[in-house]
Symmetry: C2
Subunit: 481 residues, 2 copies
């Protein structure tokens, strides 16, 4: 689709000429998100500064039946923020202000382009922070976090993004400006906040987000436990959760990752460990001391080889450094891999880990695992060498089997990354025809003409039809799981 | 509307003849919920036992364009579970089984007719409970709790019903059976759980509900602090919350209620107190000890007259007895009253309490206050004598002013009770035309023919048009706020 010069003029009238990217070079910058396999440049990129501008752009696109593709920082991993069929990309990078800090009501209202970490930095002096912390939090935007319902290491205790969004301002696909939710608990009418969080821009564009602020915890304690077998570590995770302890973070790092981290990052994780658990507790000092004693005992009961407790902030930072740079470290071992993001009920964790090992063996592939163990969200990385004939196909087959194994255990096709373009094909594996037909009808209530982020989330687009397969990732080293 | 004998035969074919109430006497039992002012008997009441039966009833009603009115235990306070325009009432009392208890994943799946308290009773031996505890929990159903997104004293710390619902099975107004959410966190696709919780049966009927189970807390501590003025008590509430303490419950009881409780219930609350705070802490013993010390100090700083700490379970039960029987106790003072249910951001609590006092003085009416102070959810009870000419009108005016005062402070027209028929007229006070038009379009995505609980939630029904006013309650003593 080539849009007319008149259309460009109308865009420039709305956002100003400095607010439109229309050159071929400029548009190429926006042709993909971090799932770089999928490429598709928009016809124009607009950089609005106000909600009114966003609404005007959507109304124009609706009139002309042009696709609208929202984009935050472009760090998504599922091909959600790229233009499948051209159209207008709405980049939120200029809408990055904090609109309101309301400490008595423990909440903040921000524009969607605000970088996640900036909000915690802006509130730390007053003793508050924003809890959801995807590993990309230094660069990803709160609008993008909300659109994908992002998770993160500390979401085990504090919940995922949706649990921290109190209200939204949204421009629907019909060009209306709606306000849903708000500072008061339990607003009347339909609670649309939950449906809009995680909708991946298929219902509308988030233009303001009211989020919960939490008090910075009184104390933090970080432990690292190593095990000879990942099954033992998995059983320890289940035992910790079953004991009623909710750590702030409970991260699993497998043998492949431990090796990669020690070689690439130098975090000094225990050599020869088959698996490492990184456990963080936070809260009142007395409470976390008691919990730490209990966790050490549970790890010992599950044959832990070694248990380290960080004595100070420097040691804590070193323990986390390994985890945070894990994906980059493995990227040094293998330039090509497929990153899976699936979920099982957490009680099935030991079982799915055995299955991951079996699938890897069956397809003669290394599958590296680093993930948020406490909430059952897996991120197996299937390493392959694209110079070896047939290995990419085997990697795809292993990836499919992994997803189906998670679903067979009552899990889900995606955890924190989202559906996007990458997983739209897999939605029918989890949902029946009636569910999908209903979701499409639901989507039309927001977006009557089907202009919002077409091809994403639901298997409605030809690109997501039968025969479409998830593609291999070629992420640069240093990206985030 | 009188439905034909053929229609009755079809209903009996679906649910059996013992599953249909069709006599005039039988139908009268279902003519109102606990907001007894609104009356409207359904043409038939059906008592299905399975989801399939529910779906068949809805499909039949859709074919014949007959209203469908869902009903749990009928303890709602907003005229939500009565038949505004006749039709078929679907009573969930026979669908009251626990379908699944999954302790490793800390959740249970129940049918909608299950009584709230029964779930905690069924899981207590294993150390679990269901946290949302509306004061009606001995008789209200989990389906009804979910449909109104019920609150309760312990929802300050643990969140309201929506925070405890993980997944739903729902029969939409189109007669489809959908499953939304589930045991795994962050399912893909649109998160419709939040929109269906609190939808008051206007989108469909909930037929199975997967809820979170919590571990029974290690220890509990209950305090009662009395103050000479309600403003001091309100300031103490704000100070407790600002100190980062989240009590399990934080209930405010005003002078009128303290007197009524002492006379009617004999709970022995401090005589002459202008306000009493009932504060409950739960969690690890060390943590709540430290919090209790802090709270005592805060109450002293706000001129508390007396602070009692329950020494044992018997004393704790006595402190709670007053609160739990508060509405009934005031019912003894005045047979006629209007019960308001509105919300302000909790930081505005001292301000709204001053306004409540001013409104009562202006209209020469006693307004009694007992409410969940921690989350800003007010329940002013406006006492009036309907034998005094003009007093009902003054009560209505006071009620309107209260609602508008809450809205002016950024609050909401309803907290935990819902909108129902009673507050549909007030939705335009909080929402703009675009928001309401959107909600109606959203509703049609679930209920294309407008058969689900007509006249409720949105001001679309003639009964909720201009000039319609909320009506005086004549609740029997012993009911719940």
């Amino acid at each position: 689709m080539a849009l007319s010069p008149a259309f460009l003029s109308e865009l420039e009238r709305i956002v100003g000429s400095s607010g439109v990217v229309s050159t071929a070079e400029g548009r190429m910058v926006y042709e993909a998100d971090m799932h770089t396999f999928y490429k598709g440049a928009p016809d124009f990129v607009v950089l609005p500064e106000t909600t009114r501008e966003v609404a005007e752009v959507v109304r124009l696109c609706r009139r002309e039946h042009v696709a609208v593709v929202p984009r935050g920082s472009g760090t998504g991993l599922i091909g959600g923020a790229m233009a499948t069929v051209g159209g207008v990309m709405v980049s939120m990078t200029r809408m990055n202000n904090i609109l309101d800090l309301d400490f008595p009501n423990r909440c903040a209202t921000v524009q969607p382009g605000l970088i996640n970490l900036w909000l915690s930095q802006a509130t730390r002096a007053q003793g508050y922070y924003f809890a959801p912390d995807p590993s990309s939090q230094m660069v990803s935007s709160i609008g993008g976090n909300a659109s994908t319902n992002a998770g993160g290491p500390h979401c085990l205790k504090y919940g995922i993004t949706v649990n921290h969004v109190l209200g939204l301002e949204v421009v629907t696909g019909a060009g209306e400006i709606l306000r849903v939710g708000g500072k008061a608990q339990d607003p009347p009418g339909y609670d649309l906040t939950g449906a809009l969080v995680g909708a991946e821009g298929t219902l509308g564009l988030l233009t303001a987000i009211t989020v919960r602020l939490l008090h910075v915890p009184a104390a933090v304690k970080t432990l690292l436990a190593s095990f000879s077998a990942i099954e033992d570590a998995s059983e320890a995770v289940s035992a910790i959760v079953a004991a009623g302890i909710v750590p702030a973070a409970l991260e699993m790092i497998d043998e492949t990752f431990v090796k990669a981290i020690n070689e690439g990052v130098g975090a000094g994780y225990p050599k020869g460990a088959g698996a490492v658990l990184l456990i963080e507790l936070d809260g009142p000092a007395a409470e976390i001391e008691a919990q730490a004693v209990r966790i050490v005992q549970i790890c010992r009961d599950h044959a832990a080889l070694e248990i380290r407790v960080a004595r100070d902030e420097a040691e804590r930072a070193l323990l986390w450094k390994g985890r945070k740079e894990a994906a980059g470290a493995v990227g040094r071992m293998s330039a090509t891999w497929i990153l899976q993001d699936a979920v099982v009920p957490r009680s099935r964790l030991p079982e799915i880990m055995r299955e991951v090992v079996a699938i890897g063996a069956r397809h003669r592939l290394v599958i590296a695992n680093v993930f948020h163990a406490g909430d059952g969200n897996l991120h197996p990385m299937i390493l392959y060498d694209d110079r070896v004939p047939g290995e990419l196909d085997r990697a795809h087959d292993a990836n499919d089997e992994l997803l189906r194994a998670c679903l067979a255990m009552g899990g889900s096709v995606t955890g924190e990354h989202g559906v996007g373009l990458d997983k739209a094909w897999s939605m029918p594996l989890q949902f029946g025809d009636a569910d999908l037909a209903f979701m499409a009808r639901f989507r039309r209530a927001f977006d009557p003409d089907g202009i919002m982020n077409p091809g994403k989330l639901l298997p409605s687009h030809p690109a997501c039809g039968e025969g479409f397969r998830p593609a291999a990732s070629k992420l640069p080293a240093g990206t985030w799981v």
